[in-house]
Subunit: 203 residues, 2 copies
């Protein structure tokens, strides 16, 4: 669920320039050491524009979070092709549980893990990540429902299976950026074993 | 994998008093706003003792992390009873994927999620969490091997299945403290469905 492109591409306006500067400062310093001065240092225009657009660092970071999560979500195709839901599910899982990440995807994942941790103590961040997880559970559930409707999947509870897949993806993403030896390849293979044994009808 | 008791009980010495103060300051302020002054405010003795024991905040936090992870790990029984590995596996999973947490376990989980995020940018934290995840993978794998040896489990790859369980637990723990509606109960039920379909032999 991470973008494989740059974070904002070419910024379209001052807000996007500011969000890109926030991203660069966040990647360089981490949330704990992020200051408006450090964001301003990565911003090509006047620092005063930050306060013109935002009430302060928290306000800017919340807008950044919404923007980042929406970009993230846009990398997952919204509508599964009705004729090949299982191929679509494999494609999404291969992407989110890829055995290795590009430097760019890893950097983005690290920034998201860092921001997510703030949700433990900040209800506005928690609201954003709650919505984000719901979004992905709903995406996975839609693919599962399409497979059930097409007769290729058994009559599982799509919401429960989707929740498990999202939790695995969140766990793998966390382990990937916070440990040296996350066994993502083994997990991807076990997910396949799980789907084979409990979801797919014999063809 | 969270303690259901207090973090250190009655501190045994100055180090444990300091670690308890660190825990209280971490819970109250979060990693991003944690300072030596805030730790000192929760510490009943002189602030100068902090610098007597530690080189500074980072050094103290690394010792705190090792202590916290070891306490955490001590809550999981080390040796599965050879005659009932499956009952043991269920017991561990019921504990780590409990449908709700006490305020104390939730607070501890939030502190761990916060510290884990620092591992994205600090290799010393990453080494500690790498060891921690390996420890739990090895614990789960030992239970699985005991079940295979006892003939109640199929010949699965214990390391791969253990890795998947640990990733689910890490994902659920993260979602629990960073969202408002983590579907842990549904995930626990899906894990049961997975184990039923792929691990347990028919009795």
């Amino acid at each position: 669920m991470e973008s494989s492109e740059g974070f904002v591409g070419e910024p379209a306006d001052t807000r996007e320039e500011l969000l890109l500067a926030t991203y660069e400062a966040l990647c360089a310093h981490g949330y704990a050491d992020l200051t408006v001065d450090r964001i301003a240092a990565a911003f090509p225009k006047s620092k005063s524009l930050i306060y013109h657009h935002y009430d302060g660092k928290d306000d800017l970071l919340l807008d950044f979070l919404d923007f980042a999560l929406e970009r993230f979500e846009a990398t997952v195709p919204l509508d599964p092709p009705e004729d090949a839901p299982d191929a679509h599910l494999r494609e999404v899982l291969d992407h989110v549980l890829a055995s290795s990440l590009s430097a760019e995807r890893r950097e983005f994942a690290a920034a998201m893990v860092d921001l997510r941790a703030q949700a433990a103590s900040d209800e506005r961040f928690r609201a954003a990540f709650s919505r984000h997880d719901r979004f992905f559970r709903e995406r996975f559930a839609a693919i599962l429902r399409a497979g059930i409707d097409a007769g290729v999947y058994r009559e599982v509870d799509p919401e429960a299976t989707a929740a498990t897949l999202v939790t695995l993806v969140n766990g793998a993403m966390t382990e990937r950026v916070t440990t040296d030896d996350a066994p993502v390849e083994a997990i991807r293979a076990e997910v396949e074993r799980f789907l084979e044994a409990t979801l797919r009808r014999e063809s």
